[in-house]
Symmetry: C2
Subunit: 241 residues, 2 copies
DNA sequence: TCGCGTCTTGCGTAAACCCGCATCCCCTCG
DNA sequence: CGAGGGGATGCGGGTTTACGCAAGACGCGA
């Protein structure tokens, strides 16, 4: 068995290395990459390797790297090991995982035990292991109450990128009014309407900008999500030319 | 000599602990805190302690913690040890450092040597040690060309929070037009006007939202800055009531 | 096949934004 | 002390947003 570790923090990398060796005695090779690009390359070079991947890396982040790796070899087993359980990450991951792939998501705050167990479950038993906390988010993200549908999330990203209603309409193939319609749903769900109930009507807030802010504060969006979205946007803009 | 370490990642914490012991043999006590709140408390309990602090922590982050610590004891020596050199962090730190205080800012990517040298310089020699890369930012942030004045930064934060022009005017004691004036300067500097020169005039972008986005992508803003700004905003809103 | 909820569109309006043009005020520099 | 530059304001108007109202469109069980 081979394991590829993709993690940019040297301390965490060596900790992982040790954890892998101790949890998987049958593993004879451990390879390390310190960023997403190198990780993709090494994954190509070592076709049979299982992967442990950090999500937050500078440059090419874990989600992007995982996407290209899975694109080339969908049955790769990947364990995401992250500091955070931002909804943006969780959503990002579940958006790219191929059907039937075995993968995992454990938080860095988890105990040694938990990490080792996850390593064995995924790489030996081919089981999915999702951290309880992350799982909670996924559930909520599907159960419709107070959570976000894909179309709402989509439009959230679009305004976060700074597109106009018109541009969104063009991009998503909708009428102007539909875009605005979706926006209203978004505003409702994000509860952007200032907590001041019987306060004066001057709402103080620019709904569009405020929506992005509260999404950020709620971890619905984060830097990495924005970065990816911006890249996609640029692609689209080029196609448009 | 006493040293207080404030850092939420256990691996980094123990690494720091070791670095401190080896760089400062004269240090007889090392105390650890795993978040900002605990850090503030321990700083109160150990008046003479020097501090090494992480910036990015969940809950109360390093900048907030440092601010209250410095408020109570302005001559405390603090070494910030961070993963990033986002302009938002650099700006946040230099905004709160008291006159004449000895402090430091080194990146986690720095070598052992660099870290140990910084520890000795600050805690023994009372010198300021700013990482070269961070220093670069600070300079640029003062040299006016293509950098941001405080008033521009201020209004950037305000729109990032989602305030309307009117609300900003009230908050900053400006006329509506002045707010819009500053906004235009901001848009200029952020170069929000779509890179498409001779492209069709439909600018695709909602300037206000786009400005926030590019500020984020350029690390002029980050989560922690938003969080702080939001807290200040809430205070202000309450005063308004 | 009917009925119902959800999503999409149009129309129309009031409010918020973006911004060129033109004063004023204040500070600095020669 | 006068010239010049930068920021604060007013005025005016063209755009874009936010959103109520209402008519279709689509899908899905009874």
């Amino acid at each position: 068995m081979k394991v590829l570790i993709v993690e940019d923090d040297p301390l965490h990398r060596s900790y992982l290395h040790e954890a892998v060796c101790s949890a998987l005695p049958e593993c004879e090779t451990v390879i390390e990459a310190e960023n997403g690009i190198a990780g993709e390359q090494l994954a190509r070079d070592h076709k049979s390797a299982h992967i442990v991947m950090d999500l937050q890396m500078t440059g090419r982040n874990g989600i992007e790297a995982a996407r290209t790796i899975w694109k080339e070899r969908p049955d790769t087993r990947i364990l995401f090991w992250s500091n955070y359980s931002d909804e943006a990450y969780v959503r990002g991951v579940s958006r790219i995982v191929p059907d039937g792939a075995a993968y995992g998501y454990v938080l860095k705050s988890a105990s040694d035990e938990r990490l080792k167990l996850a390593l064995r479950s995924i790489f030996v038993e081919s089981q999915c292991v999702i951290d309880r906390e992350v799982r909670g988010l996924q559930q909520k993200s599907i159960g419709h109450a107070n959570s976000f549908t894909d179309s709402e999330y989509e439009i959230l990203v679009d305004i976060a990128l700074g597109l106009t209603d018109r541009a969104i309409a063009k991009r998503r193939n909708l009428s102007l009014r539909s875009v605005q319609n979706r926006l209203q749903h978004l505003y409702d769900k994000l509860d952007v309407y200032q907590a001041s109930p019987e306060d004066r009507l001057d709402s103080q807030f620019n709904l569009r900008a405020r929506a992005v802010t509260v999404a950020f504060l709620r971890k619905l969006l984060n830097y990495s999500a924005l970065e990816r979205a911006e890249a996609e946007l640029q692609d689209w803009l080029n196609d448009q030319s």
